[in-house]
């Protein structure tokens, strides 16, 4: 029996050239085949040509039409010719329909689809095996709402179950579940900003409608890969699981993510509760984050570091454990509690480090006073070693202060901090002030740490008020350096853009009674005996190099110490003057005497625009005395140039002190 049904039409579909052939066998058995020449379905399904259903063992009875082991063949413009297994069962009494399409070749893999309709409720199951993401994306590209120019890659093994109802000819979704795994998943948004690659993951997620709202539970376990949402996160190679429960109310636009749990093996465990409003522009209403004791290396290295790129703390080596919680509500952070246990922070650029820090940090918004406590075993600032410290803080709103005086060991000395406060935290008007006493630090240790020529003496000072505001650090008091048997005082010390690309330093320095013997020994300049007084006013360093100052160094007028200058020092001075040929001339004459006597010596230099305006202790014919002779044997050194190239002078000074000058025999 053959039936030519011609064209059939529904509200959203149209079938042309429909032909059904039926050959009855014994009982209710039959062979059924049907062909549709052209089936037009709503997009994205489009036009299917030459669809053919064959059921060699169909069952036809009064109540049931069934096709247990049939086949389906069809042709679509996008997929080309396809074949798949087909089975269905239709009960005429209650219109229950079961349909299975199996082993449909799609996007390099296989897809099984089954559907069921029973008294107003429908269920669809889709299973993919080794479906290629990139080829699937090509097929899905014409779907409405599929993001244009985005890309997908990887292999998908997923089972999806969708169920819903049909009421008044309209199908609605009630629940959806997706389960399975993806391997080497890659994706990218159209602008490339959000992307991922090499992601292996297991997925188990379920969404269902409860009344008017939607509820979702999900679990994703990843092993390796990279995800970028602006910044990029490298996912750990070990199992990292995110669990989520969510509830969305379309009428209020309120989305509750309650809870989100992140577990990274034993290394990290965090829970968050988040409420978002999605009506209009999405915004965060409230969030609570709870971090269970976790490894700082995982918290910082995996999750925080990508968010900190471009800040001074974007390349740290870390260790230790951290836990805490943060509460955000009503547009601002309400409370932060942090607990650190034996943590290490070490800047890879070697600018700072804190070792073995433990303590608790509490902060609340509003006016409530909270106490914090932090201690560490050691650390460093650039190459200066810091010792242990034990600090107690009080915080109130955006202000923080030291609750009681504390001390931090610096090399072999220490900093006694009487007062420290940080006001306006989190605002552009961040200010800090600081009162401290620096107990003597030996210059040997300090100069060694800084990689300078080793100096003897002590550095100490009263630092009555250090203020920090807008990247500018100002030291109010006087820093006193006891070195070279004399004193060096530093006033008006000011640092700008301390952690910027070009730090700037301003200071006024006074020098009193420096012993030239130890000074010249330190810098291997050749021995000079006597004392030295002077000042460096308006010192300005840019990137730690001097660009301006007004310096004057000279023998004090009341100095009664022995005044001698060695031939090596004289020779070095002449070399500073740029002498090359003078060595030969000097040797023969200087060779007679090991050292000479002088009355006064001194030099002044006003540095500006790379030029040093030079002068000496007294005017000389056509020049100035740098060393004015006196006693026996006597020597005069006269300078003639009043404008000296600063860089040239520095280069020569460096070569003289580095090579210890020429040896005069």
């Amino acid at each position: 029996m053959t039936l030519d049904l011609g064209s059939l039409q529904g509200p959203t579909w149209r079938a042309e050239g429909v032909n059904v052939a039926l050959r009855l066998r014994e009982g209710d058995r039959a062979k059924l085949s049907a062909t549709v020449r052209r089936l037009t379905l709503p997009p994205p399904l489009g036009v299917i040509r030459n669809a053919r259903i064959t059921c060699p063992r169909a069952r036809l009875s009064d109540t049931v039409i069934a096709c247990p082991q049939g086949t389906l063949a069809l042709h679509t413009p996008r997929l080309g010719q396809r074949q798949a297994g087909l089975s269905f069962r239709y009960r005429t009494t209650d219109k229950k329909l079961e349909l299975h399409v199996s082993a449909l070749a799609l996007a390099g893999g296989r897809v099984d689809v089954s559907g069921e309709y029973d008294r107003g409720a429908w269920t669809a199951r889709i299973a993919t095996r080794q479906v290629d993401g990139a080829r699937l994306a090509e097929l899905l590209a014409s779907l409405p709402g599929w993001p244009a120019a985005s890309s997908l890659g990887g292999k998908l093994d997923l089972h999806a179950t969708l169920s819903g109802d049909v009421a008044r000819g309209q199908a609605t979704l009630r629940s959806a579940q997706i389960k399975g795994s993806v391997s080497k998943l890659a994706f990218s948004s159209a602008d490339g900003r959000n992307a991922g690659e090499d992601i292996d993951a297991d997925i188990d997620a379920r969404v269902e409608r409860r009344g008017r709202s939607w509820q979702a539970t999900g679990r994703v376990t990843t092993r390796g890969g990279t995800v970028c949402i602006g910044p990029c996160w490298t996912l750990p190679d070990t199992d990292t699981t995110a669990r989520l429960e969510a509830r969305f109310d379309p009428t209020s636009g309120s989305l509750d993510l309650h809870p989100i749990q992140l577990t990274q093996g034993q290394a990290l465990q965090a829970t968050a509760n988040v409420r978002l409003r999605l009506d209009g522009r999405p915004r965060l209403v409230a969030a609570q984050l709870e971090l269970a004791p976790s490894r700082l290396k995982a918290v910082y290295g995996t999750w925080l570091q990508p968010l900190l790129i471009g800040t001074p703390i974007d390349s740290l080596d870390t260790a230790g454990r951290i836990s805490g919680n943060v509460d955000y509500r009503a547009g601002s952070v309400q409370q932060v509690n942090l607990f650190v246990d034996d943590i290490y922070l070490d800047d890879r650029a070697q600018r700072f480090g804190i070792y073995g820090a433990s303590g608790r940090i509490h902060w609340s918004g509003g006016d409530s006073l909270r106490e914090s406590h932090l201690r560490w075993r050691g650390g460093h600032l650039y190459r200066v070693r810091l010792g242990a410290a034990d600090l107690a803080f009080e915080s109130q709103g955006s202000d923080l202060r030291l609750a009681r005086p504390a001390s931090v060991a610096i090399l072999d000395g220490g900093l006694q901090i009487d007062h420290f406060s940080l006001d306006g935290i989190g605002t552009p008007a961040l200010r800090s002030s600081f009162d401290a006493v620096l107990t003597p630090v030996s210059m040997e240790a300090l100069t060694h740490a800084l990689g300078w020529p080793i100096m003897s003496g002590k550095l100490s000072g009263v630092i009555p008020s250090v203020t920090y505001k807008g990247g500018e650090l100002q030291v109010g008091g006087v820093l006193l350096v006891r070195a070279f048997d004399g004193s060096i005082t530093v006033r008006g010390l000011r640092l700008e853009q301390l952690f910027g690309a070009v730090p700037q330093l301003y200071a006024d320095v006074d020098l009193r009674g420096l012993d030239l013997t130890s000074l010249t020994r330190t810098f291997s300049f050749g021995n000079i005996q006597g004392r030295l007084d002077g000042h460096v006013r308006g010192l300005h360093l840019v990137d730690w190099k001097p660009v301006a100052f007004d310096a004057r160094l000279a023998t004090p007028s009341n100095d009664d110490s022995r005044h001698r200058i060695s031939q090596k020092a004289v020779d070095n001075l002449t070399n500073l003057g740029g002498g090359g040929i003078t060595g030969a001339l000097s040797r023969s004459l200087l060779g007679i005497f090991k050292e000479f006597s002088y009355d006064r010596l001194g030099i002044s230099c006003r540095l500006h625009d790379g030029i040093c305006d030079m002068d000496g202790v007294a005017p000389a014919p056509h020049g100035y005395y740098i060393v004015k002779g006196g006693g026996l044997p006597r020597i005069d050194i006269i300078g003639y140039a009043h404008e000296v190239d600063w860089n040239e002078l520095l280069a020569r000074l460096a070569s003289v002190t580095a090579h210890e000058g020429p040896v005069v025999k």
Binding site: D191, G192, T226, I309, L573, D636, G639, Y640, A641, E648
Partner: protein, 228 residues
């Protein structure tokens, strides 16, 4: 050498331009408060920008690479009367006199129109030149471009492999820190901090003008265009 001569010409031009202003100001000072405007030296700024930019891009301008005056060999800066040791036959026995001339400053440098030789400017230039090798491929494939405020920006993230993105983000941050510091520092080193924005504007144009074909840049309205 040709450059130095030009520098001299420039300083002479400046002196002659300023003299009448100074002469005018003198009597005026007696009767009223006078503001003397110092105009931004646009041509000199462009020349200074080009020298830094070519250094950073690693190109040689014309035949000779741009050199800072300090880097000239010793012979030029040390005049012949440098240091001499002259015996002095005084009445009190041996008496020696050492004459020191130190290194004299070449006049061209002292009167340079827009100085770019401060240590900070040189270290910023060196730091940017070192970074340029890493940035170059991203400029070439259009991942990053030159902005109209003299900085650089990520314009096509999709052109950057995911594994390189954080590193590139850091390079961009560092480059922009250096560029901001450079503009501020040139203005400051020349005694006119208020010139910073004009220097930035000059650089923004010159980065593009000196860039190779195919690089992307922002026009005045902020739209990206490819250099032809």
């Amino acid at each position: 050498m040709a450059e130095r001569t030009k520098g001299n010409d420039m300083s002479r031009t400046r002196t002659s331009r300023w003299w009448p202003a100074g002469l005018l100001a003198l009597p005026l000072l007696l009767i009223a408060c006078v503001t003397i405007n110092v105009y931004f030296p646009a041509a000199a700024a462009e020349k200074a920008a080009d020298r830094i930019i070519l250094d950073v891009y690693g190109k040689k301008p014309g035949q000779a690479p741009a050199k800072t005056p300090e880097s000239k060999p010793d012979g030029q800066t040390s005049p012949d009367q440098s240091s001499r040791l002259i015996p002095h036959d005084g009445q009190h026995g041996p008496n020696l006199l050492v004459r020191l001339a130190f290194a004299l400053v070449p006049p061209a440098q002292a009167a340079a129109d827009l100085s770019i030789s401060s240590p900070a400017i040189r270290s910023l230039t060196a730091s940017m030149a070192a970074r340029q090798k890493s940035l170059q491929p991203y400029f070439a494939n259009g991942a990053i471009g030159l902005t109209n405020d003299g900085l650089i920006a990520l314009r096509k993230p999709g052109a950057v492999p995911l594994k390189e993105r954080n590193r590139l983000r850091k390079l961009i941050e560092q480059e922009n820190q250096d560029r901001n510091a450079l503009y501020r520092e040139i203005a400051r080193a020349n005694g006119h901090p208020e010139w910073e924005q004009q220097i930035r504007g000059t650089f923004a144009r010159r980065w593009v003008a000196n860039a190779p074909k195919g690089w992307w840049y922002q026009d005045a309205k902020g739209n990206w265009a490819q250099k032809q």
